[in-house]
Subunit: 160 residues, 2 copies
């Protein structure tokens, strides 16, 4: 996690990749989205998805996993430089969550974050707000997932 | 799952409740959102959430679980009436996903679905599109979660 002042529109980060396997697709679906095309290869092939398909919430949750790993890399880099940790702020919400193409067993999705705009919160000037576009692209370079997020980020103490 | 023609604006359904426990909050977070306030009671109390807080994606995934249970109840009712099953359609996307208040260990969230508007797809007239408002309310009747969904629903064969 960075300070608000460290983020500029156009900044972007590759968050890394998550591999969707029959095993992890079925495990997520059994817990949260037990529809046949998420649980069974044959039902997936016979569905509009054309194969065993990951739940959209699994694709979304895997984005979160990759984003948190990025927070942890940033925290480790700050610690190496002897800088204090920066606490993450909450998110008031996400917009335009789109599952653009199916994510099937065997697919690997690479997630990317890009800052679209930034502003200081009017109501809480000790926080900044960062709007970002978040995407997932499969191993064939096809966009499969996107959403826009707004997240509170703490301001640098000297500037808040 | 119903046919498009069975859904009218204003139709609504209580989907049932999901109880968030320290155990299931931590299990989800360990897999997909390993931030301290989702993993540890003390870190949660010291965070902006004021307690061990469920990941927003956990709150969202629990909605899906309750929605699928509703699909299954509908399918069972159709089967009892001797009617053939109706396959669910895909979702082009969700809008305005909001985690309005923290969901803490011990909270029970009741989910609700309401049809806001319906229309026949122009591009694919064999499908209808249903826009819905989906919400989660905690045991204190406080709205904690909402989003708007658009979902394809199959048209009744005779009318498509």
């Amino acid at each position: 996690m960075s300070y608000f002042e460290d983020i500029k529109p156009g900044d972007h980060r590759s968050l890394g990749s998550f591999s969707f396997t029959a095993e992890n697709i079925k495990a997520f679906a059994a817990r949260f989205d037990p529809q046949p095309f998420h649980l069974d290869e044959e039902a997936g092939r016979n569905s509009i998805f054309g194969g065993l398909a990951a739940s959209g919430w699994h694709v979304s949750s895997a984005w979160m996993k990759m984003m948190v790993a990025e927070f942890q890399r940033e925290a480790a880099a700050r610690a190496l430089r002897g800088e204090p940790p920066v606490a993450a702020g909450p998110s008031p919400g996400f917009r335009n969550l789109k599952w653009i193409k199916p994510v099937l067993a065997g697919d690997t999705v690479s997630y990317r974050w890009e800052a679209v705009s930034t502003r200081v919160s009017e109501k809480r000037p000790e926080w900044g707000l960062v709007n970002s576009l978040n995407t997932g692209t499969n191993q064939h370079s096809v966009l499969v997932f996107s959403f826009e997020a707004t997240v509170f980020m703490p301001r640098k103490p000297a500037q808040a």
